[in-house]
Symmetry: none
Subunit: 212 residues, 2 copies
């Protein structure tokens, strides 16, 4: 019988081992490689590409998504499952755009790993149920992400105006405040959200669900 060949990439040896352990529990699966970074992966693939590749995208000094793209392009028969803790919309979207076939959070258990392997091996897309739930919750109750810093009422209000494209002067007029005050709030907002200009502020506010 043909066993499904699987390879793994993760910079944490513990996770690499843990995942390997789970996979060894599947009789029809054989692990053909377990690497800790992109270079090892690319080397290893020369010796033969696996049918399924578990890829962490938070690798030190490397862009895991670019790696995914490269592997998908160079080894079209290899189905890549992103195996990570990253769960923001943008990363997920980019992953699939870069050729990923599946997306699993590291909270996944043996059962979900099994489902993911079977799905992608059959040519389907697989998405972790937990992830779908989270996305759904984000859609239905536009609540700020739990990673969002807490903003004061005034700050939220002003952030809303900024995200709508109002200038400081506009906001000052609308709220009957001094432009200086708005400038200051804006400055504080950038501090709290850890960004250095308006573009990044708007972007991050939207990503975190702080602006509609």
């Amino acid at each position: 019988m043909n066993r499904i060949t699987i390879a793994l990439v993760d910079d944490h040896p513990a996770i690499l081992n843990g995942l390997q352990m789970i996979l060894q529990g599947f009789p029809d699966v054989s692990v053909s490689g377990a690497w800790q970074n992109g270079d090892q992966l690319l080397d290893g693939l020369q010796a033969g590409a696996p049918e399924v590749l578990f890829l962490d995208i938070q690798l030190p000094g490397q862009d895991g998504l670019a790696l995914c793209r490269r592997v998908s392009a160079d080894f079209p028969d290899t189905r890549v499952i992103i195996f990570t803790n990253v769960e923001d919309k943008h990363t997920i979207r980019t992953a699939f755009q870069n050729g990923a076939a599946g997306y699993l959070l590291k909270t996944a258990g043996s059962r979900e790993i099994r489902e993911a392997i079977d799905a992608v091996h059959a040519g389907d897309q697989y998405v972790h149920g937990e992830l779908k739930d989270q996305m759904f919750q984000q859609i239905i109750q536009r609540k700020p992400s739990r990673y969002a810093p807490s903003l004061t009422r005034r700050e939220k209000e002003i952030l809303g105006f900024i995200a709508q494209g109002s200038s400081n002067q506009d906001i000052a007029d609308k709220l009957s405040l001094s432009v200086r005050t708005i400038e200051n709030h804006r400055y504080n907002l950038m501090q709290k959200l850890d960004v250095k200009n308006t573009a990044a502020l708007v972007r991050k506010a939207m990503d975190l669900g702080l602006a509609s």
Copy 2:
């Protein structure tokens, strides 16, 4: 043994009958009402509220979501499952904001109906898997809106950098171009998107799906 009391509202007799048929297949469930519009529902509830209510929100001449809100407020012990074909984000969001406990598409089979009943009866939220999948697909394959003006390759590239929070200088360095050139592209972008500052540019780009 206490059977779960369930009532139904749908303006199509066929669906009403079909759903009732499925529910009769569950031994621990008893259908306490089957109505064709909101008025009948409100009358019927006077005689005793069910534990679970299947509610279509496309009722002739009535706002099904408002009905959902009213029932949820007046009969807090009744768990409402929206049973409909409507699957747009806004409707779904409003449904849950109006007190819905579950959301099922009419494509649901006996098994999903069973799951939905059990989930909401246990106090959990239930969302049709098909719906979650569709929402997820919307998120990951975001194509530019058809209302988006056409941007040149360079413009898209630069818009991407701007949305990430890069300054003109940053972008100029990365692309080995003059800051003047970037300024110019940025200006053209604002013209094309009809906005007057960076904040609005980023916002609009995201709304139109031009920036990930």
